[in-house]
Subunit: 372 residues, 2 copies
């Protein structure tokens, strides 16, 4: 087993989510919690029922408050440093569902300085280009423009920097050394950065001059930031933000680590149908057997098959259909090529719609960017 | 001799300016430099001829560029954390003179987060109050409203934070540990802060999209910030800022350290004539003899006499008059009480005018605060 590493800057190895729950001090999402959510949402999102969102902090408190009529707001984000790929949109699709089902506001942070500070050769010129493109992808996912507010760290610094200083005053270098593994040779911007990531968790409360509960849907690698945020916010007379954690969509090449834009084997939101077909056929790690004969006899292993995992995590919401594919693949009735073909069609249908909406998004950017 | 300490956060002990020149790597202002300045200014400000501004970096380069028609801009500042006292205005008065004589722009920074980050119990509510009051005092000094731009870190963060990140990326924790003595227990805002203090040294160049030389008049305790700034800026394709350093106005109680707003024995810009009289008579450290008889015989020592030093540093610009006072005091002809009386009158005249202009400043604040 490859050694597991899960930090905001690196995800690699075989990821043991139960171990992460323990190490990070998360609560697993159990059937009782699912029932409680369903009471409000009527149906459960497949990412919940299938355990893709697998853990949380203080979700019971969020629902207590909601039931008392005290609505929460959602906070998630994107550090623009490259094009959006399928690995990114998992959390956002689920966030959109939460926005719809609970009728709540979403504050979407674009920490455009984060990757600038953490990546040696990245410039703000490149980041600005990605920022614009990333916003198009996020708008195209269909968030409610009347309830969604984009905040961009360097462009909303008049609102954020002062609040970040209040957070920063409560965090020492020793803290960030321990939590993020920063060193004496880390640059002082990267050392300060986590204070900026904390701000959207209470900025709406500052702007509206009343305490509003915050729920942060995020991939589990971002947890160190929000652990620290949760420690600090009560000291500033803000609520501790609640959170809900997703697992990672694996890279095409296998079930270790997470899909990453630095790898060629990711599927980007702007890929053409031909590119998708080529990538899946060429790279998607297969749980099938070396020969058709052997596959018919022994069957495939859907647990390590990336195509099946993508269907499970995102592209086949219908439980019955998914079950059928799983059984057929396991039994050897369905070959890897056939499984891949199903996925290719699903992805290309999705991207066709997405790319259409992405074009229309250009005119909506201004509506989404927060202004007081 | 009390041990000398000169950092942006502490000035104490017997200050040996020659030693500082060596330690900080400054150039002394010599007669040749004074001549060169005089060529442009016609007359020399007493703070130059009397060595109150005693050192510089790259002032020859600033004048080279000026002579080529490439005007510099001035940058100085004030971290609002208390009321303005006489110790503060030394640098600003001289800065105003530079603005007038060279006809240049001044960028005046109010780093309102600095003292918040470095002082345990200071809140932004208190700082905001001081910020407003401090701006009144600075406007009252008579800067040209058409050539002076106030920038307030938290309110101009949209312009500053991104640029500060570019600076921060080039500075490690090891650097700020070495330069400022920060430790693992320093908060991460204080660690980041020096990046914000660097920004006004090149912000006008960014805004005007051309490289403009910068001259920073400052009290010598701020030098560590600007040493670091000078190291970084060429890496960002900006000019190294030039600088000119002043010595400190001593506290009323003696010639060690500097006047500090945390001490009761400072003279504030809003003090009444009675308060000034009382403070000078009660606290101003005297270089005179214990008894009148002894004083008449041995004479006083103007070098340690705070009242004489204030006249020399600020309140008696006339060289002949100052010389006469010095001689009379040294010879024993002038008593400490008489010397103090001269200073009290000078200060009260100055404050009377200042307080009048300070009232009128209220309506001018908006004109001074930078807006794009």
């Amino acid at each position: 087993m490859a050694k597991m590493s899960v930090t905001p800057w690196e995800v690699s190895g075989d990821i043991n989510y139960d171990k992460l729950v323990k190490e990070f001090g998360l609560s697993k999402i159990d059937s009782k919690m699912l029932e409680r959510i369903k009471k409000h949402t009527k149906e459960l999102h497949p990412m919940l029922s299938r355990g893709i969102f697998f853990a949380h902090r203080d979700l019971n408190w969020i629902l207590d408050e909601y039931e008392k009529g005290n609505k929460f707001f959602l906070y998630t984000g994107r550090a623009p440093s490259g094009p959006v790929h399928l690995g990114h949109i998992l959390v956002w699709e689920f966030t959109k569902w939460l926005q719809e089902k609970f009728g709540v506001e979403l504050w979407f942070q674009f920490p455009d300085e984060e990757k600038f500070l953490f990546k040696q050769n990245l410039t703000f010129e490149e980041i600005d280009k990605h920022l614009h493109d990333n916003m198009l992808d996020i708008i195209a996912l269909g968030f409610d423009p009347n309830k969604t507010h984009f905040i961009i760290d360097t462009q909303h610094a008049n609102l954020m920097y002062k609040e970040a200083c209040k957070v920063a005053k409560k965090i020492t270098f020793s803290n960030v050394k321990a939590v993020f593994g920063l060193t004496n040779e880390s640059n002082i911007g990267s050392i300060f950065y986590t204070s900026m990531q904390a701000v959207p968790a209470f900025l709406p409360s500052v702007l509206k001059k009343k305490k509003i509960p915050c729920l942060i849907p995020h991939a589990v690698d971002q947890d160190p930031h929000f652990r620290l945020t949760r420690d600090i916010l009560p000291k500033l007379d803000h609520y501790k933000p609640a959170s809900i954690q997703s697992s990672f969509i694996p890279p095409l090449t296998g079930t270790k680590g997470k899909m990453s834009s630095s790898k060629e084997s990711s599927i980007f939101m702007t890929d053409t149908p031909e590119e998708v077909k080529k990538k899946i056929n060429k790279y998607a790690f297969s749980g099938g057997q070396p020969t058709t004969e052997e596959h018919r006899k022994k069957g495939g292993n859907p647990d390590v098959d990336v195509s099946f995992q993508y269907l499970k995590m995102f592209f086949e919401p219908d439980n019955k259909k998914l079950k059928k594919i799983e059984q057929d693949y396991k039994s050897g009735k369905m070959l890897t090529g056939e499984l891949k073909q199903i996925l290719i069609e699903k992805i290309n249908n999705f991207l066709k719609q997405h790319q259409k909406k992405r074009k229309l998004a250009e005119n909506q950017i201004d509506k989404f960017i927060y202004s007081a």
